[in-house]
Symmetry: C2
Subunit: 150 residues, 2 copies
C-alpha cells in the first residue's frame, strides 16, 4: 500500500467512528431511561433474525464477551423485555425469548426515531445511501472475517 494513502483510510475509519457515536446518541435519546443502544440492538436482533437463541450465540453475533451479554440480558429481563428459559437440550445453556413488551418497545422506538431519520433522509436520499450500504456491508464482512482469523 502506498504510504500516502494511509491518511485516507484513517479518515475513513474516523468518520465511521464519529457517525456511529452520533447515531447511537440519537437512538438512545428515544429509549427509556436505563436502556442503551446495545440493549435495543439485542431486541432488534431477536426479531430480525429470530429469538430462542442462546446468550453465547448472541454474544458472538455482537462481538462482545459473554460476560457483557449476561449483563445486558439481565437488564432486559429486569425490564421484562426478554424472558430467559432453560435450554431444552442442554442443561448448561439458556434460550432468550423476546416478550410482548419487548416487541412493543422496539416498535415504538423505531417509530420515535422517525423524525430524526426523516431529516437525515431529506438530505441524503435513499439512492445515495443505497449505494453505500452494500459497500459497507462488504467491508463489515471482511473485517469480521479478519477478526475471526485471530
Amino acid at each position: 500500500m502506498d504510504r500516502t494513502e494511509i491518511p485516507l483510510y484513517f479518515q475513513f475509519f474516523n468518520e465511521i467512528g464519529i457517525i456511529g457515536q452520533l447515531s447511537r446518541a440519537m437512538l438512545e435519546a428515544q429509549l427509556p431511561k436505563g436502556l442503551l443502544a446495545p440493549h435495543f440492538a439485542i431486541l432488534n436482533h431477536l426479531i430480525r433474525v429470530r429469538d430462542g437463541q442462546t446468550p453465547l450465540t448472541l454474544a458472538k453475533a455482537f462481538q462482545v464477551p459473554k460476560t457483557t451479554m449476561t449483563h445486558s440480558l439481565g437488564i432486559l429481563e429486569k425490564h421484562g423485555l426478554v424472558a430467559l428459559k432453560p435450554h431444552p437440550k442442554d442443561g448448561r445453556s439458556k434460550q432468550v425469548w423476546i416478550t410482548e413488551a419487548g416487541r412493543t418497545l422496539r416498535e415504538n422506538t423505531i417509530e420515535a426515531t422517525g423524525p430524526a431519520f426523516a431529516a437525515f433522509a431529506e438530505k441524503f436520499d435513499p439512492r445515495t445511501v443505497g449505494e453505500i450500504v452494500p459497500k459497507l456491508a462488504e467491508m463489515r464482512a471482511f473485517l469480521d472475517a479478519a477478526r475471526d482469523a485471530d
Copy 2:
C-alpha cells in the same frame, strides 16, 4: 419519507456501528496495555489539528462530557504522553501539550496498524474508499449540526 425506506437507513447505521466497533478493536490491539482508542484519538488530534488546546475544547471536538476528557487526559498524563500546563490567560483553564513520547507512540501505532490497513486496502482500493469518504464526512457534519441544535 416512505416508510419502506426505514430499514435501509437502519441498516446503514447498523453497518456503520459494527465497522466502528471492529476497527476500534483493531486499533486497540496495537496500543500498549492501559491505552484505548479514545486516548489515541486525542494524541492524533493534538498533532493533526494542534496542541495547546484546553480540555474543554477537546471535549467538544470529541463530543464527550468534560468529565470524560478530564479522565482521559489524566491517563495520558500518567503515561507521560501529554503535559497539562496552566493556561496563561485564564486561571481556571489548562493547556494540553503532546510530549515527545506522545508523538513517538502515535507514530509507532500508525506504523503498527500498517499490515491490517494493507489487507483492507488490498480488498477496498483507495478509489472506492475515496468516493465514500466525502459522503460520510457530509453525513457526519449534518448529524453533528443536528445535535448542536438541541
